[in-house]
Amino acid sequence: MGKLRPGRIAPMLAAALLAVSVAACGGGSGEPAASGQPAEKIKLTVGLFSDFHFAPLYEEFKKTHPNVEIVERRAQFNDHHKNLTTQLATGAGAADVVAVEAGYIATFTPLADKFYNLGDYGLTNRQADYLDWKWQQGLSPDGKLLGLGTDIGGTAMCYRTDLFKAAGLPTDRDEVSKLWPTWEDYSKVGQQFMAAKVKNAKWFDGPGENFRAMVDQAPVGFYDAQNNLVAGTNPDVKKAWDLSVQMLQADESAKLAAFSPPWNTGLTKGSFATIVCPSWKTGSIKDAAPTTSGKWDVAAVPGGGGGNQGGTHLMAPKQGKHPKEAAALIDLLTSKANQLKLFTDAGALPSIPSLYDDPAITGFTNPFFNNAPTGKIFTDAAKALKPQHVGPKAGDVLTAFGNALQRVEQGKQDPEAAWQQALQDLDRIK
């Protein structure tokens, strides 16, 4: 009759402990590598929130800096930015080079004393390359260069040609673009699509992304130029809200939260026919639903473009011990040649306008999206782009409205109550 036999358990425990300790060692990548060699060995860490397809560029950097070892750390999007905040506040743990997304850039640029001024390392000479507004976003209020842009989020609309065909809608991308000059038209075509009763398919994934795209197209979004939160009183925000609600009430939503596992499944299974597509999202769709290759195409976004969704800057926190190398790495990762490369590899739309007429981009077609000329589509979107001022807590504001739309979608609240609760949530954002 058995007691638990320690003789058998001990080796298993030992194995488990070993596994844990090995894993723990793997995690400690923050320390600079200590080495006795005369040529100083340096370890640079790069903190990202997804796969930026930087790996080949690191190899390129090592050719000119053989003493530098580069370690990439990735965290989930929100965690990445929250962690960075904590690391800056506590003075430890930040990577040497960090990615900061457009929704958060205004949170970090006022902290000029926490980041290296890249201007001190000669990067101010890159200004001529850049879209002016993208360049400005990376400056501190007193004009120090804290971040250099990687990509921007010129926006289009991706759609499933097979579902459009099944619903009797045109599938050619130019004709599709003509279907929806405005978001109202987009909603109307959605009703047409729903009336065709394509099996298990809705018009779009979820209300949040459409809402965001509509707000991004307005001249003023959640914040005015003085960083006052005006989301509750801005008529453009209310208009986007009302239109989103209207689409929900017409049952056009597949009720899938973007980037959730069910959303991934929905992408693969064709649960929705259209999806708002900032340039970088063409990469996300390809990664999340590789089996749907060739079923997608890309058309213009309703509302005449003009919105920027996302896009990233690279910054160097002052905690890093090797600012010279960090700045050199940022310079390389954002260089003109490499932005071109990242567009073809990862769908990241360059923030360097002279590339927009580069034949390598304008002639670029994406086989995953039915050979759509994504190069031309997204550079056109980028040229039409009217940048909007992004306030410090834009991410939290978007969450409040996104939750409110989901409450309407799930039938938990009527639109008015949901709007009121969203406004109350805004009051809590300090």
Binding site: Q76, T86, L88, P262, R407, K412
Partner: protein, 319 residues
């Protein structure tokens, strides 16, 4: 004598002092070394337990945001706002609800499993290790898999339910349904673990009691009810208290179930207290988050006290 006489006083004190010091060492060894042995724990506890507790209390009395260097003292304002905050009470309700739905069936199931294993079986070790396997699985893996199972459109559970004519349930959207889904994940991870603790206690119950009961014709269930449970009551108290504390601290399951939404669903339908704290820490509102943490600490103390009072009555014998 005369020559030795002066020596005596010199020798005796030395002798005495030697004995005295030896006594001192002995007494120190008996009285002080236990403290020396527990000191490492106490030091660690002070650094990682007591100090954060006290410091959190200090922070909770301030308007304290992470990136600003000014921390304004506001007294109990954070607590006053907290008591009027419906999101806080919503999180409290969710925590209690998920705690009950997960803990009660879990412990009943654990006792039953332990009872089944507490008899001669082939391949006992295999069964016992199997019980522990869900517990060594990473919580992330568990939640990701269960989120798929509880999927609305393509989930296995809805698929099975559809055989019985039940329409697709949006597990994530509803309050009750999401609580059931999250409780299932918690039960999956912890039932086997608790069953092993019960099993260890059951093996200390004297065999003769069961033999006598068998001779008297008591069934397996009667033996469980009349012998096993009364005899392992101290263990039950222990497990109930640790499970309750664990249930108060549930955070990873709801966070991951909502795909990293710190609000625990759009309607906060499954935001637990810990998640509510996380939401406010993530907003860098450290003062308010600390106040919530302290309220949660108070809740845990109360819950543990109530548990103790309810379950202490019998001390592990057949009364």
């Amino acid at each position: 004598m005369a020559t030795r006489a002066p020596d005596r006083p010199a020798v005796a004190p030395r002798h005495r002092s030697e004995r005295f010091s030896r006594q001192l060492v002995h007494r120190l060894d008996v009285k002080a070394s236990p403290y020396a042995y527990v000191t490492p724990f106490l030091l660690l506890f002070c650094a990682f337990g007591l100090f954060p507790l006290v410091y959190t209390a200090w922070v909770s009395l301030h308007e304290w945001t992470l990136l600003s260097d000014v921390h304004e003292f506001v007294g109990l304002d954070n607590f006053a706002f907290l008591l009027g905050d419906e999101y806080f009470w919503n999180a409290t309700f969710n925590t209690v609800s998920i705690g009950l739905i997960s803990t009660v069936p879990q412990l009943l199931l654990a006792i039953w499993l332990a009872h089944l294993l507490n008899r001669p079986l082939r391949a006992q070790t295999l069964f016992r290790v199997t019980l522990l396997l869900p517990n060594v699985t990473s919580v992330v893996a568990v939640v990701v898999i269960f989120s798929q199972l509880f999927g609305r459109d393509f989930g296995l559970i809805n698929w099975v339910l559809s055989w019985f004519g039940v329409g697709a349930i949006d597990w994530n959207a509803g309050t009750a349904s999401s609580h059931v889904a999250i409780s299932t994940m918690i039960m999956w991870r912890w039932t086997g673990y608790n069953a092993l603790i019960f099993l260890a206690a059951m093996q200390a119950v004297p065999r003769e009691l069961y033999e006598a009961a068998t001779i008297d014709g008591a069934s397996g269930f009667t033996q469980l009810r009349k012998i096993t449970i009364p005899m392992i009551k101290p263990t039950i108290v222990f497990v109930v208290i640790t499970s309750t504390i664990g249930a108060m601290q549930v955070v990873a399951e709801p966070l991951l179930f909502g795909t990293y939404s710190p609000t625990g669903g759009p309607d906060r339908q499954y935001q637990t207290l810990s998640l509510f704290i996380y939401e406010n820490f993530a907003k860098l509102d450290f003062g308010y988050a600390s106040a919530i943490s302290w309220m949660m600490f108070v809740f845990i103390v109360i819950a543990a006290g109530v548990n103790y009072l309810l379950t202490r009555r019998s001390g592990g014998n057949l009364t």
